[in-house]
């Protein structure tokens, strides 16, 4: 016998006054511009900030590390603002406006002569960070294709997730750690410095148990 599903109830969903993504500046307003070191470790490893949901239901989550610059943010902002219905859906930024200065030397310059001038600003993004959060009186299916469109254009691999899928991913990782039948784990080997492996492993590997290499996340590792 055919039974129909009850459609979801959106009576408790509140859409904020400004449902569209706000404009992010290309250059932060500072009194004194300072050149910064490269510090690529702001891309390494998993995200500690902004890796969980606040008000929205669906999000674009980074599956790798990278830098987002103003062009990416404009692309995201314009696509979302154009495609979303502001009466039913709202979106929020989960990344800051670009604040890290990237320097470049002029074309054809030889090595030396000091650090280059500031060319543009970027925001560093780690694995597991939420980029955009979307919510409102919609289901995932209505919003998914727009968010995947945005996720494909980002400089790092990104996925569209909902609260449930994010939780499922985290639970899966925890379950993998629990049900691992292998008596040897990367953590055990590196912490005990078995076979002198600390010679070829960095302290980064010690902290992240072999799940990350540089800015890349290795899936299926425990």
């Amino acid at each position: 016998m055919k039974m129909f599903e009850i459609p979801p109830d959106y009576s408790d969903v509140v859409i904020p006054e400004k449902p569209k993504l706000k404009f992010l500046d290309k250059v932060p307003t500072l009194k004194k511009v300072k050149k910064e070191m490269k510090k690529l470790r702001d891309i390494q490893g998993p995200a500690k900030a902004a890796n969980s949901f606040t008000t929205g239901q669906y999000a674009v989550v980074a599956m790798g590390g990278g830098y987002l610059h103003w062009g990416h943010m404009e692309m995201m902002r314009l696509t979302i603002n154009r495609k979303f219905d502001s009466r039913t859906t709202f979106a929020r930024w989960r990344v800051n406006a670009p604040y890290k200065p990237i320097t470049r030397k002029g074309l054809g310059q030889r090595m030396g002569g000091g650090k280059g001038a500031i060319d543009h600003y970027v925001t560093p993004v780690r694995y597991g960070r939420l980029i955009l959060e979307v919510g409102g009186k919609v289901e995932l299916g209505e919003v998914e294709h727009i968010l995947t469109e945005v996720a494909k254009k980002l400089p790092f691999p990104a996925k569209v997730m909902s609260r449930e899928t994010l939780e499922a991913m985290q639970n899966e990782q925890a379950a993998m750690e629990q049900n691992n039948q292998n008596p040897w784990t990367f953590k055990q080997v590196v912490q005990g410095n078995m076979l002198g492996i600390r010679r070829v492993c960095s302290p980064f590997d010690l902290h992240h148990h072999g799940r990350f290499t540089g800015k890349f996340h290795l899936p299926g590792r425990v």
Partner: protein
């Protein structure tokens, strides 16, 4: 800047090599995937995730006990309705109708309603699960395919059969009349039976035949009665003698 320093050093101290090889590799975080040291590769291979062994793929073996699904509200309502139907109605006919559209159904329902027969449709699964719990479980094979039920309080078989005859694609499968299961032929025979009053009349007449015949003969002329009695006596006396003669 480095060249000017070197020049100053050269002037002041001894010899410095002109070509200084600076060996540098890539940083830890690169755009490409950095080649891993072979020992680290080996450790990564040894410490791979081994999933727990799966007992059997789902669907490999049939489950020994069928999971009993709880009925939802609509099914419970239907079963309650069916229970009342079976208690109240004397006649339940099961009819198969393929290719009858809404118009024909409306006409059929109208014709039957004039004789007090209502048309009910229930899903076959609900019928099967309901009938398996009741006394009427032998009715279950009737409810296969697109079936419709005609129910009525009075067993009015003849009007039903006439309406069914007019619509050719509606076929009677069977019926339960007065707690007796009948097939299609059985229903036809039932319709040919005389009505209850006629049968009662026949029974009464059969029982009272003797008394009525005596009453009728007594009402005749007394001379006729006496002649009859005389004949009876002669028969009685002649009867045993004639039977004895026939025996010998």
């Amino acid at each position: 800047m480095a060249a000017t320093l070197c020049v100053k050093l050269l002037q002041k101290q001894g010899w410095l090599p002109l070509a200084q090889s600076v060996r540098h590799g890539s940083k830890a975080v690169t755009r490409h995937r950095k080649p891993m040291h072979i020992l680290k590769q080996k450790i990564m291979a040894v410490t791979k995730y081994i999933p727990p062994p799966r007992a059997a793929p789902p669907g490999a073996y049939p489950s020994p006990t069928r999971r009993v699904q709880e009925d939802n509200g609509l099914v419970k309502l239907m079963k309650r309705d069916l229970k009342n139907l079976f208690q109240d109605c004397k006649m339940l006919a099961v009819v198969q109708d393929n290719a009858s559209n809404a118009e024909e159904m409306v006409i059929l329902k109208h014709r039957l309603y004039k004789h007090g027969i209502t048309v009910r449709v229930y899903p076959n699964r609900v019928m099967h699960s309901f009938l398996s719990d009741t006394v009427y479980r032998n009715m279950a094979p009737l409810f296969i395919g697109p079936t419709v039920m005609f129910v009525s309080k009075e067993p009015k078989v003849t009007p039903m059969l006439t309406t069914l005859r007019s619509s050719p694609h509606v076929t009677l499968l069977g019926a339960c009349i007065d707690n007796t299961l009948l097939s299609a032929e059985g229903v036809l025979n039932y319709s040919k039976l005389p009505s209850v009053t006629v049968v009662q009349g026949e029974l009464v007449s059969g029982l009272t035949m003797l008394t009525s015949s005596t009453a009728a003969t007594l009402q005749r002329h007394p001379a006729h009665l006496s002649a009859l009695l005389q004949q009876y006596i002669t028969q009685q006396t002649a009867g045993p003698d004639s039977s004895a003669e026939e025996a010998t």
